[in-house]
């Protein structure tokens, strides 16, 4: 009978203490960064909700904008104006931007003309919004009049490069193997684009456009010089109009308490509108991109 020696015990304990310490430090730094990022986000929301919630009522949301000194009055015309002007801007910028991006990615590709357009749209993304406002003021308002349409033009100029860029990036994500598969079945270029590329990218395109709309809805600068910020409802694109963002600007800079309270209420309303659009963008993206297995 041979004497069986027990096998040496396997040591599975963690000896790399310094490595563990480094890992913990890194995790701690990330937690700190997360908290620092969260502070402004939470504070903005908290302040706006706290100051604005008391003002919000049905009368406030639908009522006419009175004199700034008056405690009565609401922001009804501004909500109408924001929806109208943003909607008109969307109708101008989104179809144009999507078609432009389709041209750039599917047809123009690397041609000098496409490269120029692509470069210009990148530059336009960086143009400050107040410059867009001044631009529309100079070429439109000075020639015709202050109007919701002029404001919509300004917002559309801001949205256009964003829509082009986000759409082009989504089209770029569609693998070429899908295009080839479609061509190999005898499809024309238009068929490939409409039947395969757009459906494959539609979730991202829609969400990019909704985010551009949400962004435009909160823009102030392009409207400052273009719509005149009146106090009564104007449900037409012609003639001076008003919007939440510019109402916030004029009320918040007013010396009257009532006006300042109205500015907080309007801010909360605007945030709510943008929030709804953002959530919609998320839902649409998920709905359109998750394949049903």
């Amino acid at each position: 009978m041979a004497v069986t020696t027990p096998p040496p015990a396997i040591d599975l304990s963690d000896h790399a203490t310094w490595r563990r310490v480094k890992s913990n430090i890194a995790v701690a730094l990330m937690v700190v960064a997360l908290v620092l990022v969260a502070i402004p986000l939470v504070l903005v929301l908290y302040t706006v909700v706290k100051r604005g919630i008391g003002v919000i009522s049905w009368d406030f949301l639908t009522g006419d904008i009175g004199p700034q000194i008056s405690k009565q009055g609401g922001i009804g015309p501004a909500i109408v104006g924001t929806l109208l002007i943003t909607g008109a801007a969307t109708l101008m910028a989104v179809p144009l931007g999507i078609l432009g991006a389709i041209y750039l990615n599917e047809y123009g590709r690397k041609s000098p003309f496409a490269q120029l357009i692509r470069f210009m749209s990148y530059v336009m993304t960086g143009v400050p919004s107040i410059v867009m406002g001044l631009f529309i003021f100079t070429i439109w308002v000075l020639r015709f009049q202050f109007s919701g349409f002029a404001g919509a033009l300004g917002l559309a100029c801001l949205m256009l490069p964003v829509v082009i860029r986000s759409t082009e990036e989504m089209l770029l994500l569609v693998p070429d193997t899908l295009r080839e598969a479609s061509y190999a079945l005898g499809a024309s270029k238009a068929r490939v684009t409409l039947g395969v590329v757009i459906p494959a990218a539609v979730g991202g395109i829609v969400s990019g456009c909704l985010l551009a709309v949400a962004r435009a809805a909160g823009e102030t600068a392009p409207l400052l010089f273009t719509i005149l910020t009146v106090t009564s409802v104007n449900s037409s694109l012609t003639g001076p109009n008003t919007a939440l963002a510019t109402q916030i600007f004029s009320n918040a800079t007013s010396p009257y308490d009532a006006a300042q309270a109205r500015a907080w209420g309007a801010s909360l309303t605007l945030i709510a509108i943008v929030f709804v659009l953002t959530v919609a963008a998320r839902l649409v993206t998920r709905r359109l991109t998750t394949p049903k297995r």
């Binding site: 193997t177 080839e180 598969a181 190999a184 297995r293």
Partner: protein, 294 residues
């Protein structure tokens, strides 16, 4: 009645049926010459200034499986992609020489690439189903070619999926996304999608390189089943696959010119598959198929 059945009697079944199989496959090459589908004459293919393939000539025959083999960079996929003008999609790609398809020049002045591809379908290296339902994947080709009507489309979809040996696996989930299928099923779906436009030729660019051996075996069986109705050209890196499935094999190689530091693909030898693998004429072919090179 069965009592005299020996336990190992089942084993004898195989020798009994074997001659029948042999009889079916006895004459792969009939005495009559099969019809020529493709005739390439001194074809050179360029990408910009780079000459990828130089002076290739061959004939591909109807209802045969022709395999293109050779090391990486020898231009076999490039040649395949010129057969249905897929290389038109590559910037700077250019073809010199002439490729005739049933006597008509593929690169003639009034030839529509879309019309060419409708007759000459292609299956790609990686399964690339559209992000649509299984049904819509197969119906895509017929739809873009103008087939309308639910009944007609359903018939085409079923026949194509049956043709690709996929029908039984997917018939209850036609409306589900094609991306839920396994890799092998996806590749058979891509074959079904190609068959749905009723092509004359099916080009296959390494169709099994992303698949496991079982899925590969099913695709190879499928090729044998459909070759009575389709002419098949397959590019493969797998020499066993070429020898298993093909009737003719073309061996391509890379020619390196040290002086100008250029490389280009050439067709070294093209013959019946058993000749290429058992008794090749060219020493380079022999070195490649015996595994001493490449």
């Amino acid at each position: 009645m069965d009592e005299h059945h020996e336990p190992n009697a089942a084993l004898t079944d195989q020798p009994v049926t074997a001659p029948a199989i042999g009889a079916q496959a006895s004459t792969p090459y009939a005495a009559t010459t099969p019809e020529t589908v493709f005739e390439a004459e001194s074809v050179s293919i360029y990408y910009g200034d780079f000459r990828a393939v130089t002076d290739v000539s061959f004939q591909i025959y109807q209802y045969e499986i022709t395999a293109f083999i050779g090391p990486s960079g020898c231009g076999k996929t490039t040649v395949l992609r010129t057969l249905n003008r897929m290389n038109d999609l590559v910037d700077g790609a250019r073809v010199e020489g002439d490729i005739k398809y049933h006597g008509a020049s593929l690169y003639g002045p009034n030839v529509s690439a879309a019309a060419v591809r409708r007759r000459i379908g292609m299956v790609f290296q990686k399964p690339n189903p559209f992000p649509k339902s299984i049904y819509d994947n197969v119906a895509y080709g017929p739809r873009i070619n103008g087939v309308r009507g639910k009944d007609k489309l359903e018939e085409i979809v079923e026949n194509s999926l049956r043709g690709a040996a996929l029908w039984d696996e997917v018939k209850d989930r036609l409306k589900k996304s094609a991306h839920g299928l396994s890799g092998g099923q996806q590749q058979r779906l891509c074959i079904a999608r190609t068959l749905a436009v009723e092509p004359d030729v099916v080009l296959m660019d390494e169709p099994c390189s992303a698949l496991d051996p079982i899925a590969t075996g099913r695709i190879e069986e499928l090729m044998q089943e459909i070759k009575s109705r389709y002419t098949i050209v397959i590019v493969t890196h797998n020499m066993q696959q070429a020898s298993r499935v093909s009737d003719r094999t073309a061996y391509y190689s890379v020619l390196t010119d040290d002086k100008s530091d250029t490389r280009t693909g050439v067709l070294v030898e093209y013959d019946r598959t058993e000749r290429i693998f058992q008794n090749p004429r060219d020493p380079r072919t022999e070195a490649y198929v015996t595994g001493r090179m490449g």
